[in-house]
């Protein structure tokens, strides 16, 4: 990985860790030189500590929730628990019950919960949320430009839910989310959900919004035929845009690693 990409990934990881710890990201700026994988490992362990910290009380609360109607629980969730505690308890309630409660909650609140949730622990509930709700929450997260939360969920929700999210993200947002995906091995599967016409749009968004570092990170992780399809979209750009992008790739030390996209940039 080039130094420039590593630095960008470290920044994304710092933001994710800051959210888990409830600290401003600027306070953790000293982590900028730490390998992103080590920051991610720290975040995952800190998340485990926080989720396990009060698990006995949370389990009792989850058990008590069986006594009440879902509409009452939704009101308690929104008015008393708030997003943080809802996120902690989501993985402990029966999945069917969790889905029922979520159906009574507005998308902005669910977006708040999503930002605090550990998707690894709530995958059963997440799998049962209707795709229309997933789309509404993804739209709200996109409005907030909370790419990190969208990126954290991609590895933990069914393909239909990912597709529903991608539908509401514009082309630039797809690149921004792709860059902060927790599980980058999912990247090819995510991009395959895009209609072919949107690959052109993604490449044009890189030009329009100066997202070449994010685009190169994507290109570096793709195999044929997807790598070829994206390279074809690059080749279709005006020559001046390709020259600028090639210069950026060279500056990042990535040009020769880009495979078919390198040839497209230099054509």
């Amino acid at each position: 990985m080039s130094e420039a990409l590593r630095a960008l990934e470290a920044q994304a990881e710092i933001r994710k860790l800051a959210r888990v710890l409830g600290e401003p990201a600027e306070r953790l700026g000293f982590l900028a030189e730490v390998p992103p994988g080590d920051i991610q490992a720290l975040r995952e362990r800190a998340t485990t500590v926080l989720f396990d910290a009060n698990v006995a009380v949370l389990r009792r609360m989850a058990a008590a929730s069986r006594l009440l109607p879902a509409s009452v629980l939704a009101r308690i969730a929104e008015k008393v628990f708030g997003p943080l505690l809802c996120a902690r308890i989501a993985g402990l309630v029966d999945a069917h019950r969790g889905v029922e409660i979520a159906s009574h909650l507005p998308a902005p609140f669910l977006a708040d919960v999503a930002a605090e949730l550990d998707p690894r622990r709530a995958s059963a509930v997440l799998a049962g949320i209707p795709t229309s709700t997933v789309g509404a929450v993804a739209r709200e997260l996109a409005r907030r430009e909370d790419w990190i939360t969208v990126g954290r969920f991609v590895g933990h929700v069914p393909a239909e839910a990912v597709a529903a999210s991608i539908d509401v993200l514009d082309d630039a947002a797809v690149l921004r989310v792709a860059f902060v995906l927790d599980d980058k091995s999912r990247l090819p599967a995510v991009l395959r959900l895009l209609p072919a016409t949107r690959l052109d749009g993604v490449v044009r968004a890189a030009v329009r919004e100066g997202l070449w570092a994010e685009a190169f990170d994507v290109l570096l992780r793709l195999e044929p035929p997807l790598a070829g399809d994206l390279a074809a979209a690059v080749a279709a750009l005006p020559a001046t845009d390709r020259e600028r992008a090639a210069a950026k790739a060279r500056a990042l030390g990535l040009l020769d690693e880009l495979g078919p996209a390198r040839d497209a940039l230099l054509s």
Binding site: G22, L31, V34, L58, G82
Partner: protein
């Protein structure tokens, strides 16, 4: 005498990732404090929520809910 606060590694229950271990002591302390503070905030929020929730529980179910939650 106050008990010394647990280090980041102690809170996490094992050795730190290499890049984190290599940080200056003051930065590891800051991370340890931040995790400790997050735990404290979470515990406080839980205590408040447990009591506050009862206001929304139908009166005839409050006893059962109190018992189930252990209040």
């Amino acid at each position: 005498m106050t008990r010394p606060r647990r280090t980041l590694a102690e809170q996490l229950g094992g050795p730190l990732p290499t890049g984190i271990e290599a940080l200056a002591d003051e930065h590891k302390e800051l991370l340890g404090e931040a995790l400790h503070a997050a735990r404290r905030r979470q515990a406080a929020a839980l205590a408040t929520a447990a009591e506050g929730s009862l206001d929304y529980v139908p009166f005839f179910l409050r006893g059962a809910v109190r018992k189930a939650v252990g209040l």
